[in-house]
Structure formats: structure tokens, C-alpha cells
């Protein structure tokens, strides 16, 4: 893909610098991973445009015109940023979110979440993964984005990827027992009983609702 190659040229220098900072960092593996993520997100956005009429029908509060405009605006702002990246990236590197840099409102983010959730519920798991990945990159502070990414990967049978997303969910909300419960499920799917036990122990320490306690008990029985 020609566009992807152009992008690689832009990030290659940064990847090499990371490689110097971390001797275990593998540039080639990372480039393959970035390629996969890029294609997944790209495919997901294409599907959203295809599904716009359906999305508007199913999600009545989603104004198709406004939603399309929001996506167009985001692309327009991104295009401007591409021409003058340094200040924006400096802001992000200092801890700012892409949501702020791209001037995406909370309402738009909520709409994008509902769309990603709809795509996920329609069992387009690969595309849902791409959308939740994009949302997580736009603002990594939302636990729901990481849970969405984890669930989509889990449903695809990609348990290692799901585990990573759930661990990020736990980092944003350590008091949410479901982040740990889902980690435990991934460990179980990966035949890692010790990891599952640790995750369930963490879940147990923060579980305060019957539904989470019941699930923890069930999983503990399963790995006994």
C-alpha cells in the first residue's frame, strides 16, 4: 500500500530512536504490527461510511449529516496537522490527547463510541477492533474504549491482544472488577492458570456487586 509506505518513512526515524532506548525493541516486528493496526483501522472507517444509513436508523440520536460532518472535520483538521505536525505532536507527547488536538467534542466522541458499539454488536469484530483502537488512540483515558477493544479481540480468538487491551482498561480503572475478570478469562484461554488466579485475586479485591462476585466464583471453580 503506497500510502502506508509513505507513513512508514515518516515514523521510521522515530522507531529507530525507540530502538536505541530499548534494546529489546524490534523495529521490524513493530512495523508489521503497525501495518496490521493501520489496515484494521482503515477498513473499519470504510465500513462505518458504508453502514451510515443503517447506523442512523438503529441509533436514532445519531444525526447522519452531523456524524458525516464530524468525520469530515476530523479528516480536515488531520490534514492541516499533517502539514504542521511538530506543535501538535509536542502537545501530545507532553500528555495532551489527540481528541483535544483534533478538537473533537465529547459529544462526537460519544457518538463515535455508539457507532463502534453498534459495529461490535453486529459481530463485525475485526472492524469493531479497528474502531475501538482508533478511539483508544484519540483518548486513552476512557475505560470503555479499552474494554471494547478487548472484547472485540476476544471474540476474534486473539487472546493475547485481548489481554493487552484489558490490562490497559485496568490501568485506567483499577477498581473495575470486570477489567480483571476479563484478564482472567484471557489467561484461561491461553492456559495460564497462574495468571488467571492473580487476575481473579485482583478482581476479588475490588468486587462489590453481586454480578461480579458471582462471575469470580464461577471462574474460580472453573480453574480449580
Amino acid at each position: 500500500m503506497e500510502q502506508l509506505e509513505e507513513w512508514y518513512e515518516e515514523v521510521e526515524e522515530s522507531l529507530n530512536e525507540i530502538s536505541q532506548a530499548d534494546p529489546l525493541f524490534d523495529v521490524d516486528t513493530t512495523k508489521k504490527r503497525l501495518s496490521a493496526i493501520f489496515q484494521k483501522v482503515h477498513k473499519a472507517i470504510a465500513l462505518v461510511f458504508q453502514m451510515l444509513p443503517e447506523i442512523t436508523e438503529v441509533l436514532p440520536h445519531t444525526d447522519q449529516k452531523a456524524f458525516t460532518q464530524a468525520l469530515e472535520d476530523m479528516a480536515g483538521i488531520a490534514s492541516v496537522l499533517t502539514k504542521n505536525m511538530a506543535p501538535a505532536f509536542e502537545c501530545i507527547a507532553e500528555g495532551g490527547s489527540l481528541q483535544n488536538v483534533l478538537e473533537i467534542t465529547e459529544q462526537t466522541l460519544e457518538t463515535l463510541y455508539q457507532v463502534a458499539r453498534h459495529v461490535y454488536e453486529q459481530q463485525h469484530y475485526e472492524e469493531a477492533s479497528g474502531l475501538f483502537c482508533l478511539l483508544s488512540l484519540l483518548n486513552p483515558a476512557y475505560t470503555s474504549f479499552w474494554l471494547g477493544l478487548g472484547n472485540a479481540e476476544y471474540c476474534l480468538g486473539k487472546y493475547t491482544e485481548a489481554l493487552l487491551a484489558y490490562s490497559f482498561a485496568a490501568q485506567t480503572d483499577n477498581a473495575n472488577p470486570f477489567c480483571h475478570i476479563y484478564c482472567a478469562r484471557c489467561h484461561m484461554a491461553l492456559n495460564n492458570r497462574d495468571g488467571a488466579k492473580i487476575a481473579l485475586s485482583l478482581a476479588e479485591s475490588v468486587a462489590d456487586e453481586p454480578i461480579s462476585k458471582k462471575e469470580i466464583s464461577r471462574l474460580k471453580e472453573e480453574i480449580r
Partner: protein, 77 residues
Amino acid sequence: MTTPIGPQQPSAHSPEEKKTEKSAPSLPEELGHPSAAPHAHLPLALLLGKERIPPEAQKLGTQIAAQLVVFVLTHKK
């Protein structure tokens, strides 16, 4: 705190089989609130596939995450 009903063990993973699942795992209906916990390192960690990353790499990696999003949005069609 979000309390979604999480994914059940998927009965199958092929595209054909996944369509036959009777109940889709659910996600929180509402987006919820952003976390106050430190999260600036997460985009890089996601892209690199690592739970932990060296502090020296965080700034550069965060820029890569930004480049990815900007590039995808710019070339979305």
C-alpha cells in the same frame, strides 16, 4: 464504574462460525467518564504491543500514535 456483561467464551472463531453466536457480548451503554489515572503512555503501549514501555521511548512513541491517527483520518477514503 462500568459493569458490562463481558464476553462469554466464544464457541468458534472463524468468520462463518462467529455469525452463529446467539448472544453478542455486551459493552457499557454509556461511554462513561475519562479516567484520572495516568494514561499518556497507553497509545504507545498499544502500538508496540507491550504492557510496559521504557520512559525514554514514551515521547517518541506517543508521536507515532498521533501520526497513525492523523494519517488514517487524512486518508480515510
